[in-house]
């Protein structure tokens, strides 16, 4: 073949797609999934309610109405009042802020530390992997809520400590997931190619590993938000999380438990709120998993 022929630019047969277009494709796939859309919409509304709580809530969450104690839902107090006369709806609305902030921060702890440990274990291997993973195994042997309980017992009961406890307790599971995914990437040819080029370890981790675990990261982070909301609420329920009078859903549930027989609304509405948000987050996680990995659907 003549030299000129080889050097002639080959015309592409496939139309090119820019990264922007790929992102648009991904968004399109999310919006095609009705489950995902409903969940995103619901969570969006819940977040808006939380952000604009002072405007939306009819009363201050800590304002006491002495003349309407344990009042059933009525026109003035749409979801009724609690044992010391606070408006339940306002407390639920303000509770969105506490619950979502705490669980998101807890997930952030899990996300950063879990991803870091998982990637390092997979990439470095050897004794580092062995030591870190055995520690994770020990932590995994305990149910995450028990581990969280132990951590709160050490740090003392408060909302911040509950958040740290929930975050740390979820790290082992997360790290294991990321390690598994990263191990497949480590043995791939493109990582070997990067090494042959002489790229730095941090570059290989950032540019070769991370983009390939984004899907798993996104899906499991979403699923962990559900777990975190539930665990934070559980810790608050047994008095180790948010302390009264903070309007936290778990604490509210716990307070309402004592009046189950004569004031059903006190435990029911926070319970429904927790259930709905956790359901929405879990459904969204499932939908995202199907979108990222069509093979696992069904």
């Amino acid at each position: 073949m003549a030299k000129s022929e080889i050097y002639k630019p080959i015309q592409a047969r496939v139309t090119s797609k820019s990264p922007m277009k790929l992102r648009a494709d991904f968004l399109k796939r999310i919006f095609k999934d009705k489950r995902a859309v409903v969940c995103i919409l619901f969570l969006f509304i819940v977040s808006i309610v939380g952000i604009f709580a002072p405007i939306i809530a009819p009363f201050d969450p800590e304002e006491l109405f002495y003349d309407s104690i344990l009042e059933a839902p009525n026109k003035e107090h749409l979801l009724g009042t609690d044992a010391i006369g606070r408006d339940l709806l306002s407390r639920l609305i303000y509770g969105v802020r506490v619950t979502l902030t705490v669980s998101l921060l807890a997930v952030a702890i899990t996300f950063f530390l879990g991803t870091f440990i998982g990637l390092v274990c997979a990439y470095v291997g050897g004794w580092v992997d062995n030591v870190l993973m055995r520690i994770m195994d020990i932590l995994l042997a305990l149910p995450s809520i028990i581990l969280a309980l132990a951590i709160v017992a050490i740090l003392g009961p408060s909302l911040t400590n509950a958040m740290i406890a929930v975050g740390v307790a979820s790290i082992p599971g997360f790290a294991r997931l990321i390690r598994g995914a990263a191990l497949t990437i480590k043995s791939s040819m493109f990582v070997e190619a990067s090494r042959s080029i002489g790229s730095s370890h941090s570059w290989i981790l950032r540019r070769q590993f991370l983009p390939n675990v984004t899907g798993i990261l996104l899906v499991y982070t979403t699923l962990f938000i559900g777990v975190a909301i539930l665990d934070t609420a559980a810790l608050s329920f047994i008095g180790l999380g948010a302390q009264p009078p903070t309007p936290e859903w778990g604490t509210m549930l716990s307070e309402g438990r004592n009046y189950m027989q004569n004031a059903w609304w006190l435990a029911t509405f926070p319970g429904i709120a927790i259930t709905m948000v956790v359901f929405a987050v879990n459904f969204l996680g499932d939908a995202l998993r199907d979108i990222f990995d069509p093979k696992s659907s069904g």
């Binding site: 030299k3 080889i6 080959i10 040819m189 080029i197």
Partner: protein, 247 residues
């Protein structure tokens, strides 16, 4: 006069298989005492059946697999004794083209990002990168409008051209070609082989070509080594080897 660029002496690689406690370790001799010399602008072909240690030899030269013993002398230095940092400096001069172009590229990165990787790794100044990218693409017969694509949006031949572009973008002295055409259609194979020959002429490259396909080796290699069970059983000029076949 030809000058020796790379010399491999008694290269050896043993893989140990994991054994149970109190059991002696078992070893697999993947490469056993391989020696070769690579001259400037020369192509050495390494042929052999699969599993005979050709690819391991190539990887040991680049220290992608650490050799058990032996020397790899490049520019007067034994590179098997260099620190990781020093070795990274040498990598600029010894690059590799992989068998499967699709697998050797991160599917989540664009061609621009893939080709920029060597430039970033070896700290080529920002303003020199763009001209280098364009020039290298032209050398491998592609154009700038391929830069924003992803590997899956290209044909097998184009992908291998990108693989070659990535290997030559730093203008190395030696390129290890690990079965560069065996994953390609026969029609594309000859294009890629011709491209490799032209690049050798233009950039003064030396190749270590690893292949199981004698036709490919005969086409572009100057000297050929035959490997069998980890050993280099025969080494000689192309004519000598293909006319008087011993193995």
């Amino acid at each position: 006069m030809t000058t020796t660029l790379l010399e491999v002496r008694n290269l050896e690689k043993k893989f140990s298989s994991k054994s149970a406690w109190f059991q002696s370790k078992k070893y697999v001799h993947a490469v056993n005492g391989v020696s070769l010399e690579l001259n400037e602008r020369e192509t050495i072909g390494i042929v052999g059946e699969s599993g005979c240690g050709k690819s391991t030899t190539g990887r040991c030269v680049l220290r992608l697999i650490e050799p058990t013993s032996g020397e790899v002398i490049f520019q007067g230095k034994d590179i098997t004794t260099l620190s990781k940092r020093e070795m990274n400096e040498i990598r600029k001069d010894i690059q590799m083209v992989f068998q499967d172009p699709m697998a050797s590229m991160n599917p989540k990165l664009t061609i621009r990002e893939i080709l920029s990787e060597p430039l970033i790794a070896h700290k080529v100044p920002q303003k020199e990168r763009e001209p280098l990218l364009n020039e290298t693409l032209r050398l491998v017969g592609l154009s700038e409008n391929h830069l924003e694509r992803y590997p899956h949006e290209m044909s097998g031949g184009q992908r291998q051209r990108i693989g070659i572009a990535r290997a030559i973008i730093l203008r190395p002295k030696i390129v290890v070609l690990d079965e560069p055409v065996s994953a390609l259609d026969v029609s594309v194979q000859s294009q890629i082989l011709n491209l490799l020959q032209d690049l050798q002429e233009e950039l003064g490259l030396s190749y270590i070509l690893i292949s199981h396909d004698l036709g490919v080796v005969e086409h572009i290699a100057h000297r050929v080594g035959v490997m069998y069970l980890g050993e280099m059983v025969e080494m000689g000029g192309k004519e000598q080897l293909f006319l008087i076949r011993k193995h």
